[in-house]
Symmetry: C2
Subunit: 212 residues, 2 copies
DNA sequence: GCTTGATTTGACCAGTTGGTCAAAGCGAGG
DNA sequence: CCTCGCTTTGACCAACTGGTCAAATCAAGC
């Protein structure tokens, strides 16, 4: 008789059954598809439910609201997205460290374009749901790494440019291939994968820019 | 007694009264605000009407549908957006021509960020409403200008890189400052205008890249 | 100040939206 | 094979969506 409280409102710890793990995963996967293609307001629960092969009320048994799905995706994403920057090693060879970062970021665009677009959509619309993380974690991480870059410049190991704009340019150039994929494909009469050429181009670009 | 047919369905030519010009302008302005901030599906007629200080039925007296406003904005925009590329002069000094293009494109980002975001939103979502223009005019223009770049490279006047990816990189780097404005401001503890530094940075970057 | 067409609007509509709820189905441990 | 809590769902709701319509208001030339 007594109805079970919704999953997300249960007082007990996060001990998940197999079904829960599977369904939560399916919902996040479906949400990624829909949110990245339509933006937050453009996405509908019905669409997400259909993509996850669940009924709409069933969706809301696993997540309390549309916004909760979106937030779960974004916070989970931000970590993965910043990992390559975190791994920039102050002790490594400056140019190679930066080129590795560029390469890894380009691989993220190639392998996880939906994640990139989800993020782009959110930032485009003023990042109302992750402005805290942007102004907090992200700001700190960039400040820290900019400091590393500054030291490399001061010791003459890479050319002297504005360190934060250098980071911006890496983001812009790599994310462009995921976020503007439609445009990239249409302009390069498609059929061919743009990523190999992009890799070569970016390697050249940053080598020339950073050469002391 | 006889009701006037809606403005957009009138058989006569486009002779517009002062009121028509004013209101159409107000609607496009409001539409730009809302579409660029919310995307097509996320924008609502009520919001646009409120921003234009018109009633919703009044909106639909000047435009037949939500989509018509969006399309009007996009087609009008695409031309302005490509102008700087059109002006790239095959007879000019290669490096200066390209740096001028970069500079003008960065000015567009600074002065028309809403237009940039409107475009970004549309491309992000697969450009369902302007894929024709992208695959047609844009593709042709880029092919033509890539040919110019190729000649400059063949005659040793700029360094040899993939010409289309060179154009992509200019787009990516300049539009980033408009489209990801929120992120840029948050990362550079804001308060200061990022554009002057960005101009210097991009100038350096492309000078080094293009130096033969 | 009257007429005629341009402009504006309140009331309305059918379809969609995010979200709720009580009841029904299900499966693993006893 | 039976219970009991986990899972699923059909029916429903109020708010909102893009869009329509007939009637009311306005404004400029006569």
């Amino acid at each position: 008789m007594k109805a079970a409280p919704p999953l997300w409102n249960r007082p007990s710890g996060p001990k998940r059954t197999r079904i829960q793990t599977r369904n939560r995963q399916a919902i996040l996967e479906a949400g990624l598809d829909v949110f990245s293609a339509q933006g937050f307001r453009g996405a509908t629960l019905d669409e997400i439910a259909a993509a996850a092969r669940l009924s709409k009320p069933n969706l809301l048994y696993y997540f309390p609201s549309k916004e909760a799905i979106h937030t779960a995706l974004l916070t989970q994403l931000l970590d993965t997205w910043l990992d390559p920057l975190r791994e920039l090693d102050p002790e490594g060879d400056p140019v190679e460290e930066l080129l590795t970062y560029v390469r890894r970021k380009l691989e993220l665009s190639r392998d996880y374009p939906r994640e990139s677009r989800l993020f782009a959509n959110e930032i485009l619309q003023g990042a109302p749901r992750i402005s805290d993380a942007i102004e907090g974690d992200l700001h700190r991480l960039v400040a820290e790494k900019a400091h590393v870059l500054q030291r490399w410049m001061d010791t003459g190991r890479i050319a002297r440019v504005h360190p934060v704009h250098l980071i911006f340019s890496i983001w812009a150039l790599t994310q462009h291939y995921a976020d503007f994929d439609m445009q990239v494909s249409a302009v390069l009469g498609d059929g061919e994968d743009p990523y190999p050429e992009a890799g070569v181009y970016l390697d050249t670009l940053f080598r020339k820019l950073l050469a002391p």
